[in-house]
C-alpha cells in the first residue's frame, strides 16, 4: 500500500515539475488567447492550488480515472483495460514457462556441478542472463521469422485474414504467440536458473544430505526428499526480488514483437510524448509489481511453515 502511495506521489510531483505549461501541451495551438487558455486550464483543474490537485489526483486514481491520453484522445483507463488481457496472457504464460524452464536448468546444473551438463546449462543461463532483452527479441525475429521463416515477425493476429474459420484463427494466434513467448521465457529462465543452481549446490553440501546418502538413499530419493524443498525457499525469495524484470520483459518483448499490450503502450507513450498515458502505465506496472510481491510472500509462507503473516 505504502509503495503504491509513494509511487503515486512521485508520479504526481514529477509531472508537475515538467517544464512547460500542461494546458499548452494539450492545446498545441499558440493562437488561443489568454481567456481561452484560462477556460482550458479550469476544465482540467489546473487553476487550483497544488495540494488540491494532488488530492484530486489520488481520488481520481482510486476511482481508476487516469486522465485522458494526449494522443488517443480517450481515457487512459480504457486504453489500459483494452490492453490488459494481452499483456497478462503473454507475461503470465511466459513467467510460468520461464520459472519451470529456469528451475529445471538450475536443478540440472546444480546436481551435475562441474560436469558437462552443468557447463552447458550454466553457460547458456549466463549467456541469456547477459543479453539485453530487446536485443534477444530482435535476434530471434531475425533468426526465426526472416532467415528461417517459420514464425510471423510480430503482432498478435494476421490482418490479412478476414473472418477465418476458428481452426485457422487458433493456429495463426498460436503462431504469433510462440516466438514472443519463447523469447520472454528465455530472458528470465537464465536468471532463475542461476539462482536455483546456487541454492542446489549449497543444499548439497549440507550435513543432512550427506547423512541421507550415507543411509543409502538413492540419488532420486535424496533429491526429492531432501534437496528440492529446501532449495525452493531461497529461490522463491530471489525470484520475488527479480520480479521487477517482468516489467522490463513486457516492455522489450511487446515492443519488438509489436504485441499490443501495456508494454508496447509504454513505448508508444514515450514516442508520442503522451504523458497521461505514460503515467497510467507507470501506475499499472507499480500495482502489478506490488501484487506479484504479495503472491511471492504468500507462496513463501506456504512453502515455509515457520513464516506466518
Amino acid at each position: 500500500m505504502l509503495t503504491i502511495f509513494v509511487a503515486l506521489t512521485i508520479d504526481f510531483y514529477l509531472f508537475r515539475i515538467l517544464p512547460g505549461d500542461p494546458a499548452m501541451m494539450i492545446a498545441k495551438d499558440p493562437r488561443l488567447n489568454a481567456q481561452q487558455m484560462e477556460v482550458l486550464r479550469a476544465s482540467f483543474g489546473l487553476d487550483k492550488p497544488l495540494y488540491v490537485q494532488y488530492g484530486l489526483f489520488l481520488f481520481n486514481t482510486a476511482k481508476f480515472n487516469l486522465g485522458i491520453s494526449f494522443f488517443y484522445r480517450v481515457p487512459v483507463a480504457s486504453i489500459l483495460l483494452g490492453r490488459l488481457a494481452n499483456t497478462l496472457y503473454l507475461i503470465g504464460l511466459g513467467t510460468l514457462l520461464s520459472i519451470v524452464l529456469g528451475l529445471a536448468l538450475g536443478i540440472i546444473a546444480g546436481w551435475y556441478r562441474g560436469k558437462s551438463p552443468d557447463s552447458i546449462a550454466f553457460g547458456s543461463a549466463l549467456l541469456f542472463y547477459s543479453m539485453p532483452s530487446f536485443w534477444i527479441s530482435m535476434v530471434f525475429i531475425y533468426a526465426f521469422a526472416l532467415v528461417i521463416p517459420i514464425f510471423p515477425t510480430g503482432g498478435m493476429v494476421n490482418d490479412r485474414l478476414i473472418n477465418p474459420p476458428w481452426t485457422t484463427a487458433a493456429v495463426v494466434s498460436l503462431q504469433h504467440l510462440a516466438l514472443p513467448l519463447v523469447t520472454y521465457s528465455l530472458i528470465f529462465a537464465g536468471a532463475y536458473a542461476l539462482v536455483m543452481r546456487t541454492s542446489i549446490i549449497q543444499i548439497l553440501s549440507e550435513d543432512y544430505v550427506i547423512t541421507a546418502r550415507a543411509k543409502g538413499f538413492s540419488d532420486f530419493d535424496v533429491f526429492r526428499k531432501h534437496v528440492l524443498k529446501n532449495a525452493a525457499l531461497p529461490s522463491v525469495t530471489q525470484i520475488a526480488m527479480n520480479l521487477g524484470l517482468i516489467v522490463l520483459g513486457a516492455i522489450s518483448v511487446e515492443t519488438v514483437f509489436n504485441w499490443p499490450g501495456v508494454g508496447l503502450l509504454v513505448y508508444q507513450a514515450i514516442y508520442f510524448r503522451d504523458y497521461p498515458l505514460l503515467q497510467g502505465t507507470f501506475i499499472f506496472f507499480t500495482i502489478l509489481m506490488v501484487l506479484a510481491n504479495l503472491i511471492a510472500d504468500l507462496l513463501y509462507s506456504f512453502l515455509d511453515p515457520r513464516v506466518r503473516y
Binding site: 508520479d11 549466463l126 539485453p132 516489467v247 522490463l248 522489450s252 513505448y267 504523458y275
Partner: protein
C-alpha cells in the same frame, strides 16, 4: 608528515597486499578473462580515434551496405561505418556505466554506512526510507524519470544511479551492523574517537572491498540499463553508445529487413561487456568470501 622511509614501507605493504590479492584472484579463470576483456574495452574507450577506421559521424560509404573489406561491419542507414561507431560507442556506454555506478555506489555506501551505524530513531528512519526505495519498482521509475528530464548523458547516468543504489545500501548496511560490534570499535570509542573517525578509519576500510565487488555488478546493470533507456528513445541521441546504435537499428527495422550487421554487433558487445563484469565480480567474490573458496 610522513618520512620517506615510512612512505616506502607503506608502499611495500600495499604492494605485498596487492600481490597476495592477485595470487588468490588469478586462480579463477573467469575473473582473469574478465579483467583482460575490460582492459581491451577501456583502451578502445579511451583512444577511439586511434582504433576506428573512419570518423563515426562521417558519411563513409553507401547507406546500408553489408560488411566488406572497406567497411568490416558494413554501414548504417546514413552511411556511417558501423565498426567506427561501435568503437566510439564503447566510450559512451562505459562512460555512462561508470558514472551511473559512481552515483549509485556513493548514495548506497553513504546510506548503508549511516543507517547501519546509527541505531535508534535516526537509523530506523533511514532504514524505512531505504525499504520504501527497495520495493519501488526501479524500472518504471527510471522510465518515468528519463521521460520527464532532458535526455543528456549526465541525466541518463544520474537517473540510472539514483534507481540502482539500493542493493549497495543493503549490503553495506548489513556489513556495518556486524562490524560496529567488533572489539576494536568499542576500544576506539573508549579512547574517545568521534563517530566520524570510527566510521572513516575503523569501519570504512573493511567495507570498501565489499563496495568494490558490488560496484562491478552495478556497472554491468548500469550499462544494460543505458541500452534499455536508449532503446526506448530516452537516451542521449547526440552521444554514440551501443544503446543508441540499437535504438537506430530498431527504428530502421534492421532486424526485419535482414541488416544483421546493423543490430547484431552492439548487442554482442553489450553481452561481452556484461559477461566480463560478471566474471570479475565472480573472481572478486571468490577472494572476498573465504567460505566459497574451498567448495
Amino acid at each position: 608528515m610522513l618520512s620517506s622511509v615510512a612512505v616506502n614501507r607503506r608502499l611495500r605493504v600495499q604492494k605485498k597486499a596487492f600481490v597476495q590479492f592477485w595470487n588468490l584472484y588469478k586462480r579463477k579463470k573467469a575473473g582473469v578473462a574478465g579483467v583482460a576483456v575490460l582492459l581491451i574495452l577501456c583502451t578502445l574507450a579511451v583512444f577511439p580515434n586511434v582504433f576506428s577506421p573512419y570518423k563515426p559521424t562521417a558519411t563513409a560509404g553507401t547507406p546500408m551496405s553489408p560488411p566488406s573489406l572497406a567497411h568490416l561491419l558494413g554501414t548504417d542507414d546514413v552511411g556511417e561505418d558501423i565498426l567506427s561507431n561501435l568503437i566510439w560507442g564503447t566510450q559512451g556506454s562505459l562512460f555512462i556505466g561508470f558514472l551511473a555506478t559512481f552515483v549509485a555506489i556513493s548514495i548506497g555506501a553513504l546510506v548503508g554506512l549511516a543507517s547501519g551505524f546509527y541505531g535508534g530513531l535516526k537509523g530506523e528512519l533511514m532504514m524505512r526510507v531505504t525499504d520504501v526505495f527497495l520495493v519501488l519498482p526501479a524500472l518504471p521509475l527510471m522510465i518515468i524519470l528519463a521521460a520527464t528530464l532532458k535526455p543528456s548523458i549526465w541525466n541518463v547516468a544520474l537517473i540510472i544511479g539514483i534507481t540502482a543504489w539500493t542493493p549497495t545500501a543493503r549490503i553495506v548496511r548489513s556489513a556495518v551492523i556486524s562490524l560496529k560490534e567488533r572489539i576494536y570499535v568499542y576500544r576506539a570509542r573508549a579512547v574517545g574517537c568521534t563517530d566520524r573517525r570510527i566510521i572513516l578509519t575503523h569501519i570504512l576500510p573493511d567495507v570498501v572491498p565489499l563496495i568494490f565487488a558490488n560496484a562491478v555488478i552495478v556497472t554491468a546493470i548500469a550499462i544494460a540499463s543505458e541500452a534499455f533507456l536508449s532503446f526506448l528513445g530516452l537516451g542521449d541521441m547526440t552521444v554514440i553508445s551501443w544503446g543508441t546504435m540499437l535504438y537506430f537499428a530498431f527504428s530502421m527495422g534492421a532486424f526485419t529487413s535482414g541488416a544483421y550487421w546493423y543490430f547484431l554487433p552492439p548487442g554482442v558487445l553489450i553481452v561481452i561487456t556484461i559477461l566480463a563484469f560478471t566474471g570479475v565480480g565472480y573472481g572478486l567474490d571468490d577472494v572476498l568470501n573465504p567460505r566459497l573458496r574451498k567448495a
